[in-house]
């Protein structure tokens, strides 16, 4: 690659064109206030003429920041992660950072390997998703002393600052709401929980809240369904076609709830007249679907934005940053997919 370059434009090329030294050109970019205006003008012109493009790698070697941030998520294929990454990316891009993005597909071993690769690239900081990580990941972060923020969850006393919502609170809110509508024949639909502490926390607290209210969910009504409209439609349709039908279904996220709404329609049920369906997340479209979905909002955009701000602060204000976690409150969104249990 380098031997086929017709002309090599480096800082020396610019320096020659401007009749200054390379160190002056470097100052032009990094400490322009140290230069005379006339010198600045000459260099500016030389940079344009030569088409020089700075080499971030050479800066990085000096321990200068690479200007990159490693973003590690389970998958981009779930809209909610795409949304939070977009907000995060917008926030850090505003401060001149570029993100390195990788996904581990809920495989925490893979997460460790990706983190090492990020460290090879000397990222200035890292954002991980959720609280649950291989201990080797935490060790590596400590060892390398790299700024890190955990995104999406909130939990007091976590090892690194976390920016997100309290999944237990969200789960409790939706379960309590369904109970407050009088439902006692309640089914649950949650995604697999391996490598997914968000889903696990929600499921456990939902079941606990129901149990504390004297409601036990039969095994046949406790579904594990992959994150897919198609799968949840199929599972919901099967559930609603049984002889013994619940009056309410709590879904672990709004994609599952969307599929369940479609499944109810396909089973010939009217929502919420025949079956109440609720979700968690308040994803795009949740308020527009017919009927509008009752759910708990997890503010993805805000989470991404705050995580971006926190990590930039950690990188830039290393000495003064106070490592504070931030809890983004979940909000109960009462809409039209759930109603009080019927007395008939």
């Amino acid at each position: 690659m380098s031997e086929t370059k017709p002309k090599k434009v480096d800082i020396l090329t610019v320096a020659k064109a401007a009749r200054v030294s390379a160190s002056t050109v470097s100052r032009y970019f990094n400490h322009p206030d140290l230069l005379k205006p006339a010198t600045r003008k000459r260099i500016d012109s030389a940079v344009r003429r030569t088409g020089y493009i700075r080499n971030r790698a050479a800066q990085t070697i000096h321990g200068i920041r690479s200007g990159t941030i490693g973003v590690l998520i389970p998958t981009l294929d779930h809209a909610i992660f795409a949304e939070v990454v977009q907000a995060f990316s917008d926030t850090v891009a505003e401060k001149g950072f570029t993100i390195l993005l990788a996904s581990h597909g809920y495989d925490l071993q893979r997460e460790y390997a990706i983190l090492r690769k990020f460290l090879e690239h000397r990222v200035d900081g890292v954002v991980l998703t959720g609280l649950d990580h291989d201990d080797a990941v935490f060790q590596l972060l400590d060892q390398q002393e790299i700024p890190c923020v955990l995104m999406w969850n909130h939990a007091a006393g976590s090892r690194f600052p976390c920016i997100g919502a309290d999944n237990e609170q969200a789960g409790r809110m939706i379960a309590e709401h369904v109970l407050s509508l009088g439902h006692r024949k309640i089914a649950c639909m949650f995604p697999p929980t391996d490598g997914n502490d968000r889903a696990l926390a929600r499921r456990d607290i939902v079941l606990q809240t129901l149990k504390n209210a004297g409601v036990s969910v039969p095994d046949a009504w406790s579904l594990t369904t992959v994150y897919s409209i198609s799968e949840s439609k199929t599972d919901a349709r099967k559930l609603f076609s049984g002889l013994n039908r619940p009056t309410a279904l709590i879904c672990g996220n709004d994609i599952l709830a969307t599929g369940a709404l479609y499944g109810a329609k396909a089973a010939g049920l009217s929502v919420p007249d025949d079956i109440s369906i609720v979700g968690i997340g308040d994803f795009k479209g949740s308020s527009d679907i017919e009927p509008a979905l009752t759910t708990v909002r997890l503010p993805a955009k805000r989470i991404g934005h705050e995580a971006g701000k926190a990590l930039v602060a950690a990188i830039i204000d290393q000495e003064t940053w106070d490592q504070r976690s931030l809890h983004c409150e979940p909000t109960l969104m009462l809409r039209h997919s759930a109603r009080a249990v019927s007395v008939g």
Copy 2:
């Protein structure tokens, strides 16, 4: 940052621990076949003991590949782009590449600035979205002689290899299908086309195909609607509540079509009995919504995968790569949201 590092582990540290030179350690990583097995073993042990993490920046300075690929998309917030980026990322990650991801929000000037930043990072290759780019972008790519692939569209004779679907073909297919069902009172809903050549191509060919069949779309039935379920639901509901109602609605993508389905429900219409609704894209959920959406499938996963393969080939096999574009065929998906125009 560097002055607070408690211990600096570089290649010299490893060399000392293994009692070899730094160049031998370098060979261990890059040309292990040149080393005696015993030497390899010693170095391997020293790498583990010291916790050394290679510095990609130092490699990059040598004109060695940075191991990064720049990915430039309009936004991650549209599920279809998230899907294609995930497939692309998986494909290149398999070959050891990490993606730098940035979004330009349909602002082609911003795209140029982002591309420059990618070049500062000395990415090994770049993937852009669509065919339409500021000419400065093309000039910069030519000048820097960096491998580039255009993703999402297919057009013969494009300046760089493109991997995607023919948007004109997709638009023609869906328009012809609606015509073949006998519809002549047809409305259209497309997103804004600034900086979005995909949407423009689809809209133009849809209108052209209708026109060739003697169907003219009244201005009041030619909607421009932002990419949002909420907006399209509102616009569709308004359209369907008018005194003069179309028998069919062609939407420029499946998100708009999804919102239109919700809008029809909200307007008290039955789909497809009262109004046929079709889309383009076959997004997630399009086959599961009730009624299942008739649309043209653009194979996002395949596009992302093939684009990743093509770019990796361009980077690795620079001399032999033949720069071929690839057309991923759109597929007409006949489902339940459209039917023949009623004779009553």
